[in-house]
Subunit: 418 residues, 2 copies
Amino acid sequence: MIAEILSTGDEIRTGTLVDTNSAYIAQELEGMGVRVLRHLTVGDDLTELAAVLQEIGSRADIAVVTGGLGPTSDDLSAEAAASAAGVPLVLDPEALRWIEGFFDRIGRPMGDNNRKQALLPESAVRIDNPIGSAPGFHLLIGKCRCFFLPGVPLEMKRMLRESVLPTIDTLLGSGARPIRIVTTLSSFGYGESMTAEKLTGFDAAFPDIRLGYRAKFPEVQIKLYLEGTDRLKLEARSLEAAGWVKERLGGRVFSDRGESMPEVIGRLLVERGATLAVAESCTGGLISHWITNVAGSSRYFLSAAVTYANEAKSRLLGVSPEILLRHGAVSEPVIREMAEGVRRMSGANFGLATSGIAGPDGGTPEKPVGLVWIGVSTQENGTSARSFQFRYANREANKQMFAMTALEMLRRTLCQNS
Amino acid sequence: MIAEILSTGDEIRTGTLVDTNSAYIAQELEGMGVRVLRHLTVGDDLTELAAVLQEIGSRADIAVVTGGLGPTSDDLSAEAAASAAGVPLVLDPEALRWIEGFFDRIGRPMGDNNRKQALLPESAVRIDNPIGSAPGFHLLIGKCRCFFLPGVPLEMKRMLRESVLPTIDTLLGSGARPIRIVTTLSSFGYGESMTAEKLTGFDAAFPDIRLGYRAKFPEVQIKLYLEGTDRLKLEARSLEAAGWVKERLGGRVFSDRGESMPEVIGRLLVERGATLAVAESCTGGLISHWITNVAGSSRYFLSAAVTYANEAKSRLLGVSPEILLRHGAVSEPVIREMAEGVRRMSGANFGLATSGIAGPDGGTPEKPVGLVWIGVSTQENGTSARSFQFRYANREANKQMFAMTALEMLRRTLCQNS
């Protein structure tokens, strides 16, 4: 079964926005054994859109189209689909009810232009949107079953997973289909090229397993795709391959079930019944933000002090002004006092602190942009402090590397202290 | 002049890698006045590649193709281009010399398979690679001048900028080209649908201006695209249209030059020589993270207290434990004490505080998920406190709405106090 993926929208056509939907959809389809032949992108042009849908209709068995389902005059996917399929647009009363219900739920008035979103091709089967206002739909164009989803990634992924992939699964037929498992290893420490290089030889060692990478800076996810008829055998084989990968990456794999770093930290703290407080300078609140993205983090996360100004380091964390003056904020003595100070003052079991230079300004020859000190203070095993020198091109990348490295240092401490 | 962009490679076809090259190239071409009609992606398949090149050759004037110039058996772009153009592959001795020189420079032996990279279509004009081993090239396929570049972003961008774009510029001819300006208005407060609805009538009022939207939740960017020959006239017309938009959106436009909210906050604080401290509960560090993403924020941002646990609200901000007990953390009395506490204790001119329920747990009938109290404390004009009820489906969305609304409340206070 051949599939094509079409992303629509002027922001993608002109490159204002990078298309991440196509890669996501391609991975999901390929994971089901569907062969993705081609991706296309066109803009908000009715003629162009209808024409490319007809082309796809003559070539592929399945297509997934994203974008163009919104309420504005740029949103033309339903109209183009109807045109390509040679059917009229009709008002779907159920779709209209769903849209009205959506605006009701979020407590906002429904606009006139939202009515447009209930106009679907006559032959279309509606795909309800559990998150936003735009319903998706699928219909036959030429010989191709075309699925139309919103361009908003959150909505697209949900509807793909809950409606589209199961439908495609049915289309693939109910013959004894192989069992597929995907194992996701989350790693941090090597970039994508280096990770791939370290895993050279995987194909020879595991010719039965497809290896994939997903860059989620600063993480790299390694994905193992296995297919067979015996689930237990597959899981054992997956464990073997995961072990091989972990050994080659020398301790940089921090989860073998695709967890994010904050999720792992949360799990480790809960397992130990321990609490955490954070002192952030250069990371500016990013570590706390990541930690508090995890539902239930109030079980272990007490507080953070974002001590951007040096005065705040003294006032909120008890860092000695003399030490600040003598060594500067980005130094070992200061990071030790920050980590210990935040732990002691908050009553937490663990204190984590960062102090560095995210750039672009603020660097010196002795302390260049990209330098960070990280401290982890424990109740029973003292305080560890380390410095790292990164060289990323921009402030945001440096902040993310600093924050991720800090969490990795905390993770290793938690794993030791268990 | 019409262009198409083709990225090649199985990692992109299968979605293992997200294609960022196409967006980059599209932006550059559109910026030169070339209209990018379509993007395509195909895998490492000679037949498919040659076929799609012939299709492009019949449709476009210019094409930029990335990938498939490496030394492995998957690298088929030169062969496919030759096939599509109906010419043989020939060894380019200058290309071979260049590749040998590259390996010489990096002190590694040249592989046999690297010789393959010097085999180019007979009619091709070589584009030397200043960074890697693979030369690019351009040739005519059908009516289309097709440029072939490596897939490695760093190499692609350099060769695009140094060779391809100047060549395209020559092809465009030296006639008077129109001037293009893009005005970006950043807004917050209406969703994308409501924004579009409020701007109904724009096309009738300004038929010479193209209107676009960019959803950057929780912001909506409104983009005005003008084209003409007189820059001053265009700028005046843009101002007029921006004024019309601002009036329709009732104060929700916070920047007429595409600034982000934290950039605007930073600018307003610097203009007033004022400083800021933040107390975050439910937003967990997100506000501070956003603020500190702006280079130079240390000029006005002193510190933040992420007081996730109630005890931390008392310890770090001086919030009375009795008030916490009587009213709960998510209440007006507590938010006032948080905002005033953080301002007083930090010595900042302005204090901003948030306390709410991001979900999915923690809601009650009286205080549902999505409720947030926001306080802004000033030195001379007292403290304002307001509550908002949002109903977003997930924790991250609620956090972002809370944080953005808090910054907007601060922005309005700053604009009043000037």
